[in-house]
Amino acid sequence: MHLTLRRRNALNGYLFVAFWLFGLLIFFMIPLLQNFYLSFTDAQLTTIRDNSYKMIGIQNYIEAFSVDIEFVPYLIQTFTNLLTDVPIILAFSLAVAMLAIQNVPGSVLFRAIFFLPVVIGSSVVIGRMFDQFGNQLVLFRGQAAQEFLFVYLGDRMPLFMTFLSRSVFVLWRSGVQILIFIAGLKSIDPVLYEVAQVDGASSWNQFWKITLPMLSPVILINIIYTIIDSFTDYFNMVLRYIRVVTFNVTPNRLGYPSALGNIYFILVFILVILIFIVIGRMTFYRGERG
């Protein structure tokens, strides 16, 4: 069999991804389509077994936006949280990554600590920890400190405490991002910096003209990761609500939560695509070949 180089290349490509495609079809696409179908029905846990449910059109979707008073606020809250969290997490993790690659005594230890949330931070276990301590997790736990804060902040104290506990929470979620940024920073050719130094560029300029452009693919991956992480998170309010609707409200409806899930990830999907298009244009790959 004689094939052109291009054909052979394409065939090999298919060989590499074929088994994944099979898995995708069985474990993902078909369930997803069935889920989509289910969202147009009034299926319940009791009726799904004997197929005694019926199509009700887009009734579920209408209910989500017009009848359900909880879903839309949760949705808005989730997206606004995301808009504030993503820049904070990215800026913080880039700053920590840049600190961590400096040659400071004990830097290995610091790096090890920063990655610790990666190991335990993604878990339900850590969810328990945060649930348990709530706001007390923050630095100001003692009675005296709280009184002191109350004197100075007055009415604004709860807000301040929320901000603090939220920031600890946000920082705890940036482990993977720090790691990816360190990887990206280390992969930048030091020659670039040497050349810039010889040309008299300040470290400020070096950051904007070398570090940031060279990091652009890493920034893209980090933004995407952060979004996905918070959208599939244990604490995510929309998912929590969907879970409650499915399992804790009788009758256990299946059609309606499917519709909620669909609305939710269609929105996320649009957001991610937008980010890919906008930021993808600004990224710069080294190994690109047509």
């Binding site: 088994f19 994944w20 495609l21 369930p31 889920n35 400096q102 990655f115 003692g142 899930g261």
Partner: protein
């Protein structure tokens, strides 16, 4: 810029300094030390934030009810309540649950690490019709929360072709196909990594007569070692900590993994009407026991983990 063309070796910051060479050096050294100290303080600050929840966890796991309610006790308990740990160990049925967790999470992680590498390489280094559209599917799979599919997956695995309820296959088989927990993310990471490698590697191997699979296993995989380590650790950790899928497919407590056993301990303590702070010490101890294997694993691998991530860069 053009000012320094004539004297390229001098650091631009020191250009205006009119002092002698010796003083200039000292000034630079002082500034150097000062900046180091500032960095050190910042690093310690951040490290403290990171360690705080764990330190609190450890300290509360060693407290009995008296110490937990005592406002004068903040970090160190008056009496070290080691019995919390023996209680937690017994309540978790730690050893068998640990073995199950290792077997399934480790197995799924190994399968996922390999299968995702193959797929990621396929996406990164071959040009085939529809590739970019298929890659969009990877991204799509990445952002669909597992919660959206749990009902369908449950139905799928309970029906004849599979009938895998009460078994460990639902965790292992999808992983072997590059799916599973966050499989798409790993494909994405591998793809980004392979995309950044120089093409000369393949060209040279091809001229030497190696086929694509040989190139992949002999040239590319060894190069990907650092990424493999990272993906493996992530995969292991996420499988270890997952409770959503096990709670769907497994119903008998003697099959449960460690985090699920933790919920059993919690609900058991609640059903004994031990509300308030009563069970807190034991629950904290149990929580620590559940994540302890991960922490130990991390303590051993973090050196390689950190350096390996640095050596290649995940992405370019």
């Amino acid at each position: 810029m053009e000012k320094i063309v004539g004297q390229p070796r001098v650091n631009p910051v020191d250009r205006q300094a009119k002092s002698s060479l010796l003083e200039r050096l000292q000034g630079r050294q002082a500034r150097h030390i000062a900046s180091r100290i500032v960095m050190l303080v910042l690093l310690i600050d951040v490290a403290f934030i990171f360690l705080l929840p764990i330190m609190r966890l450890i300290s509360q796991s060693l407290m009995n009810i008296m110490d937990l309610y005592d406002p004068t006790v903040s970090w160190l308990p008056r009496r070290w309540a080691w019995e919390n740990y023996s209680q937690a160990y017994a309540a978790l049925a730690f050893w068998p649950a640990f073995k199950r967790s290792i077997l399934v999470a480790g197995g799924a992680a190994i399968l996922q690490t390999l299968s995702c590498a193959i797929v990621g390489y396929g996406f990164a280094r071959f040009k085939f019709p529809g590739r970019d559209r298929l890659f969009l599917l990877v991204l799509f799979a990445m952002i669909v929360p597992p919660h959206a599919l749990i009902i369908q997956n449950f139905i799928l695995f309970s029906k004849p072709p599979f009938q895998w309820l009460e078994t460990y296959y639902p965790f292992l088989v999808p992983s072997a196909f590059g799916m599973g927990l966050r499989g798409a993310l790993f494909i994405f990471i591998y793809r980004q990594f392979f995309k950044g490698l120089p093409w000369e590697l393949e060209d040279a191997a091809m001229i030497d007569g190696a086929g694509p699979f040989r190139i992949f296993f002999r040239v590319m995989l060894p190069l990907a070692q650092p990424v493999i380590l990272v993906v493996f650790l992530f995969s292991l950790v996420w499988h270890w900590n997952d409770t959503l899928e096990p709670s769907l497919y497994l119903s008998r407590p003697e099959q449960f993994f460690l985090p699920q056993r933790l919920s059993i301990v919690e609900s058991a303590l609640e059903s004994f009407q031990l509300r308030g702070m009563w069970g807190t010490g034991t629950i904290m101890a149990a929580t620590l026991l559940v994540i302890l294997p991960l922490i130990i694993l991390y303590a051993f691998t973090q050196r390689y983990f950190v350096t390996s991530i640095e050596r290649t860069g995940l992405i370019d």
